[in-house]
Subunit: 410 residues, 2 copies
Amino acid sequence: MTDLATVRQLDAADPLAAFRARFVLPDGQTYLDGNSLGALPRATAARLADTVTREWGQGLIGSWNAAGWIGAPQRIGAKIARLIGAAPTEVIAADSTSVNLFKLLAAACAAQPDRRVIVTEQGNFPTDLYVAQGVAAYLPGVEVRAVPRAQIAAAIDADVAVVMLTHVHYKTGAMYDMPAVTRMAQAQGALMLWDLSHSAGAVALDLAAANADLAVGCGYKYLNGGPGAPAFLFVAEHHQASLRSPLTGWMGHAAPFDFDDAYEAAPGMDRFLCGTPPILGMAALEIGIDLFLEADRTALFAKSRALCSLFVELVEERCAGLGLTLASPRDPQARGSHISLAHRDAYPVMQALIAHGVTGDFRAPDILRFGFTPLYVGYEDVWRAVEILRDVLTSKSWDSDTYRRRAAVT
Amino acid sequence: MTDLATVRQLDAADPLAAFRARFVLPDGQTYLDGNSLGALPRATAARLADTVTREWGQGLIGSWNAAGWIGAPQRIGAKIARLIGAAPTEVIAADSTSVNLFKLLAAACAAQPDRRVIVTEQGNFPTDLYVAQGVAAYLPGVEVRAVPRAQIAAAIDADVAVVMLTHVHYKTGAMYDMPAVTRMAQAQGALMLWDLSHSAGAVALDLAAANADLAVGCGYKYLNGGPGAPAFLFVAEHHQASLRSPLTGWMGHAAPFDFDDAYEAAPGMDRFLCGTPPILGMAALEIGIDLFLEADRTALFAKSRALCSLFVELVEERCAGLGLTLASPRDPQARGSHISLAHRDAYPVMQALIAHGVTGDFRAPDILRFGFTPLYVGYEDVWRAVEILRDVLTSKSWDSDTYRRRAAVT
């Protein structure tokens, strides 16, 4: 049995422990939902105040140049590229994950008119499925082939334009073998599009080594960019010239400030920009990324795995017989940085946990989800979360109308 | 001849004069570029600090409900609706103007498969033209018919799905007669899409009275929402059920938190949402809108016209023979809240003006553009701007390499 002293030794030996103080974490709360909304870096408030008061207030329109606003998508994209193993000219920060999925799915289908199928996984994150369905509704002949995880390989044939998968599953945390699946898609002539929303900042990524074609990802989860932060997209250098965004806004033009009447796609990633970049969101996102770039990434992703493994171990040791089932892969190499537990009454159990100071989230129909963000979660947090989980389950304190009442948003 | 004393009397009698103190305006600068980036409201920094420190930092994921983040697009949309004469359920704040144009153009074309033409104006704002071209490239058979302003009426026939026009032209300031042009489009069975980017907050708008079908608009110009603020879109109630956004992200789903695999468009305007709303941008935008809602709008738009008319009058009186030509309509009822002057050397002239404390902007090839935002520009600002314009032109101080050098972004 693992004891608290052992857990505290892990914190004492953690080379990343100092990063915790770089975040605001509410007193008395163990926050295990950074995979849904990352915590606030301490530096963000000052950066935003400067962006607002000095850059906008004093610099006004001149700040598009003087404060580097106009180059934010490329500058922040280049920083994200370092986190995901891409070249600096292969990533830009822009729009939302959903909008970026639309750009890349539509571009991938339009570039391959003889291939009409988007392959994806049943139970993929809803926006991925919905955007694919939206592309299929608009592009003639395009269809979505959504199959169970085990049938992905069989679903990829010569009709497939693009395979779109979420690298780390939002619910179970199951992680695909990126190089192997990419090879599998490419072997059939399809493009491979990875959604890195639950991967970037959570697990080691090397898009170059995986020979990835396309990717999107989220700025407000592990990257700590703030609520509704700009997302990012990646297009491998050798695909950039042949793919065209359907969202041909002025920021994607080769010379936006020439105000020509005819659209001409910018060379490189700039063509995947659309409207004016959201500067307040960009400023906050950049602080989150900069923090990541300070950390030793080998240590970071080792800690992700260690936190998850400790949680699974403690749950199995200390909550045995309390109705929990591991819904994530047991193998640390086969999962991301969150762990899901199934429980028949997951909704009220999670509400009770939150009321008792442990914030994870509920995913329908029966999942308790706990995210372990290595920059600010410590080993004793894991211990505390499991203790409270055991108390809530043992005491059945979750079994009340207060916790059973379903909120509009969870 | 108008003298300074008369101008000062106008400021003394201005019922909106107190609003100026609600904005940050840099010392020694006359800012006439609020039509490109609105000035910073004094309340914005505190609101953003609260959004970041309390709502995000302390409330974390719970703020989606507790701080009303999830309802921001609808709440702010309903406020914008009051400014543009729409019902609260007809407007949402979301994405960029460019992305919203794509949603509505694609939806309008898809809903009318027997009509394949988008009519617009040559020299319309580039992103409007580019997005229309993107829709045409994407939807089979759709074409863009861009014609000079005088030929719009003749261009609208039974093949036209949608007429897209910018209500107040970004360069000249020329304003369409919204009810008349809307009737003209509708008489041919086409939908009318108005871009209100240079109108909302600048001129009186009554979309209901004009029987408008569709509209988009910008949050960072007259609405003072900050650089890259969220934009808005309007769909008249009776069209909402029949139009479907091509950007079917999860926030547009009828029940986003049920995590179903199949997309089902939300009823009403929510179907035009796509990804997770950008909360920092929304918070700043709401401050800008709230300020507008405090002002008497009759007085506001009368002041817009009076500022523009004073500028034209003073330029013609005091800058005669200095190479300037009025490029905006002379009739105050036929223009928005900015005035454009043509000058052979407009680029270096504007650079010199900026260096001498008057910020307007340059629009290729020969336009000096000056925006008069009634909430924070006063009559003496107009006087000062014209005096400096005269000095710059008389002294030819603009004629130097410093001012002729073209910046990357202007």
